[in-house]
């Protein structure tokens, strides 16, 4: 657990970036700091590895004051991922990933072996290992950044707007992979973003900060959407928070209706809707059993017939739902 107690950062010119911040970041979960620019989220993150020194207050990791050891040792035990990855341009991909293991004295072979494993783990082709960062796409660089942060197997990983400079499709992939990775590794991750959707998607807990570095609310995302603490948080989580809250509703079993004749199938996999003409109407989104209500509603809304198709893990259609099914699930 990382604990902030009355932490304040005041710059020499008098600007207060973080104001008496107190919060507990639980271990083995993703905690997201989110807020508008100037809310001190990045400053708060960087105070954890002391790349920014706080003015007052204490920060402790598992009860240990972070100032009880020297800063360089502290940093080697904390993974760090930055926007644009911040890879070393003069080192190859594998050398970049092996940086921290080498700094803490592993021999080159072991460091490189671990680095190669991590490249695979973050979904990179190991053929890229001998390339230089400039030869990679933004998304690939960001994966290398994550691998570098994890190389020495730190308990904590700090991520400072890691996905904000890549395009939306790649960002979506990277987010999914971070969640998948986190299911395996269970690190204590502190993640900074200005994007509330990203915060809600990734966070087990979300800390909403307001300008001037004050904590507005600290809660799991579902709680944040359902009960915003005040107008600032309500405004920040956005107008359609009701719809987005459906992300956290997982009905055990939506009662599906049998497949209608209009649904065109190919080996059981839905491919479109028949409407009498040669051309099939587009299928729309589908959802899987166990998906959130948001996914189910999305399937209903994007289907040309108003019927959302439910598929199994192999993509085969098992049934359909309509608006009333969703409404029924919401009432219960």
């Amino acid at each position: 657990m990382i604990e902030f107690e009355d932490v304040t950062k005041r710059y020499p010119d008098g600007t207060v970036a973080v104001d008496k911040l107190s919060l507990r970041i639980p271990s083995n979960q993703i905690t997201v700091f989110v807020g508008p620019s100037g809310c001190g989220k990045t400053t708060s993150l960087r105070m954890i590895n002391r790349t920014i020194e706080r003015t007052s207050g204490t920060i402790s990791i598992d009860g240990d004051d972070i100032n009880s050891h020297d800063a360089v040792t502290l940093r080697r035990g904390i993974g760090y991922v930055i926007q644009n990855a911040g890879l070393f341009p003069h080192k190859t991909v594998v050398e970049n990933v092996a940086t921290v293991p080498k700094l803490i004295g592993w021999d080159k072979r072991k460091a490189h072996g671990t680095a190669m494993e991590l490249l695979e783990r973050v979904g990179l082709d190991v053929k890229l290992a001998e390339r230089y960062p400039a030869q990679l796409s933004g998304g690939q660089q960001q994966r290398v950044g994550v691998a570098r942060a994890l190389a020495a197997d730190p308990a904590i990983m700090l991520m400072d707007e890691p996905f904000s400079a890549v395009d939306p499709i790649v960002r979506h992939q990277l987010q999914e992979e971070l969640l998948r990775l986190q299911r395996d590794i269970g690190k204590t991750i502190v993640f900074v973003t200005h994007d509330i959707d990203e915060a809600i998607k990734l966070g087990d807990n979300v800390a909403v900060l307001r300008v001037g570095g004050k904590l507005a609310q600290f809660a799991p995302p579902a709680e944040l959407l359902a009960n915003p603490a005040d107008d600032f948080v309500r405004g920040f989580v956005g107008q359609d928070r009701g719809y987005r809250a459906l992300t956290f509703v997982h009905p055990d079993e939506l009662p599906v209706k049998p497949l209608p004749d209009e649904l065109a199938l190919q080996d059981g996999v839905p491919v479109g809707w028949r409407n009498g003409s040669e051309e099939l109407l587009p299928l729309g989104a589908v959802f899987k059993r166990g998906d959130s209500l948001r996914a189910a509603l999305d399937a209903v809304l994007t289907s040309p017939t108003g019927c959302g198709v439910c598929v199994d893990d192999n993509g085969k259609a098992v049934g359909v739902i309509d608006q009333s099914t969703v409404a029924e699930a919401l009432r219960s």
Partner: protein, 218 residues
């Protein structure tokens, strides 16, 4: 032509002296400029005064420097130390700008992540900042090396000038061959030195000439 054959020993001797007088100051200047440049990036207010001071030093006429240095250092007028000190001053005055610019060329997010992964201050300079600064520093090294090779000849006026002494010899005897030999050899020296530096830079910075990224999804 027979003059060349008769004086091979002399020519070789002057060539070696020329090389020594030109290259040693480059090495000394580099050794001085790197820490100086690093200090100037640590204490940013120092950088611009240092670069300006370097500019002034470089504008001092070399002959004046060759003559003033013995007076200041107490060396003999005919000591090679004078040339070496003068050219080292020129080297530092030129190179300091490139070292500072080179260290400044390290992208802020690269520096930030170098700190965050746990490089100590000095280790970071050696392992991250300086390697990234190499291309910019080498641009300066190439200029200063060629400049030094041409400037050594000026020393002939005060009696130590490597290949420049062939010029004085030629003028004194009103005889063109030594002058031509001197010119050709110092040109060749400058050319070879530049080729060596370019090659060295390519070996040191394989990362600087990689192709642009291949478009691939994530």
């Amino acid at each position: 032509m027979s003059w060349i054959g008769d004086n091979l020993g002399l020519i070789w001797e002057q060539l070696r002296e020329h090389l020594y007088l030109a290259i040693l100051p480059v090495i000394l200047g580099l050794i001085i400029s790197v820490p100086l440049g690093y200090v100037a990036t640590r204490y940013a207010w120092l950088a611009n005064p240092l670069i300006a001071f370097g500019g002034i030093l470089y504008s001092l006429p070399s002959i004046a420097l060759f003559i003033v240095i013995p007076a200041v250092l107490g060396t003999k007028v005919l000591s090679t130390v004078n040339i070496i000190v003068a050219l080292t001053i020129y080297t530092v005055s030129l190179l300091i700008r490139n070292v500072i610019d080179g260290l400044r060329s390290v992208p802020p997010d690269v520096r930030q992540s170098a700190i965050a992964v746990g490089y100590g201050a000095l280790h970071r300079v050696v392992a991250v900042d300086l390697p990234i600064a190499v291309p910019v520093i080498f641009t300066g090294l190439r200029v200063v090396t060629v400049a030094n090779i041409s400037m050594v000849s000026v020393g002939a006026v005060i009696g130590i000038g490597g290949l420049g002494e062939l010029f004085t010899l030629g003028f004194q005897k009103d005889f063109l061959t030594p002058v031509v030999v001197g010119v050709v050899l110092s040109l060749a020296l400058a050319l070879i030195a530049d080729v060596i530096l370019v090659t060295l830079q390519r070996i040191l910075t394989p990362w600087a000439r990689v192709a642009t990224p291949v478009a691939e999804v994530a």
